[in-house]
Symmetry: C2
Subunit: 126 residues, 2 copies
């Protein structure tokens, strides 16, 4: 699984790493039990600081996606709980599309399309 970093993006680097790992888990490319590179390894690969990667891993651990251990490295966790504010964030995002005039049906189709591309090449669930 490849991760791309855009240093000039307005989105923080640690957030870019977090988002792409979450998407990797969603796509099934990183099933539970998968080991991730050490923070020093990732930092060296990207040419960024160790603490930036650490921040991404910490966030992923707080969200329940990862468990970070001493020498084994980070391991993808089986299942977590959806963040409490997830639906509020969904609401804000969908409202933006509605406010720009997209019909609800069109928005739903886009959600379906995005979900399809995410679940495309993988077994959906256990």
């Amino acid at each position: 699984m490849l991760i791309f970093i855009e240093p000039e993006s307005e989105k923080p680097i640690y957030q870019q790493i977090r988002d792409q790992i979450v998407e990797g888990i969603a796509r099934g490319e990183l099933p539970p039990g998968t080991g991730l590179p050490s923070i020093r390894q990732l930092a060296a690969d990207f040419g960024i600081n160790l603490h930036t990667v650490n921040k991404a891993y910490e966030l992923l651990e707080r969200e329940g996606f990862l468990q970070v251990r001493r020498k084994t490295g980070a391991v993808v966790q089986p299942r977590g709980r959806l963040a409490e504010d997830w639906e509020a964030r969904l609401r804000t995002l969908l409202a933006e599309a509605l406010a720009q005039g997209l019909p609800a049906e069109e928005i739903l189709v886009r959600c379906q399309r995005v979900l399809a591309t995410l679940t495309d090449h993988e077994q959906p669930d256990r």
Copy 2:
């Protein structure tokens, strides 16, 4: 239409204002042509600084939701273009739910539910 500010939220105040106005437009509570309070008025109402409200209005104007005029105040615009990165943001959000184990069908139902609450009390389009 009421706006609530949480000063202690991790979400920036100007973003809170922006999000709630966008939701107001989506719900049809702020149809095109609606005038919004002046930035000084809003700032006074919330007990916050003028520039914080100004930042929210500037953002809404860049996004095509508002047109800010000299003395008339801000006016809700008819229709804009959906932000280019909207679908990428949707993708990130849906991936998070998938990665936490929510089945795609369940996610779609939630999207439908949220859209329903947003289009509930209003005429959908035009």
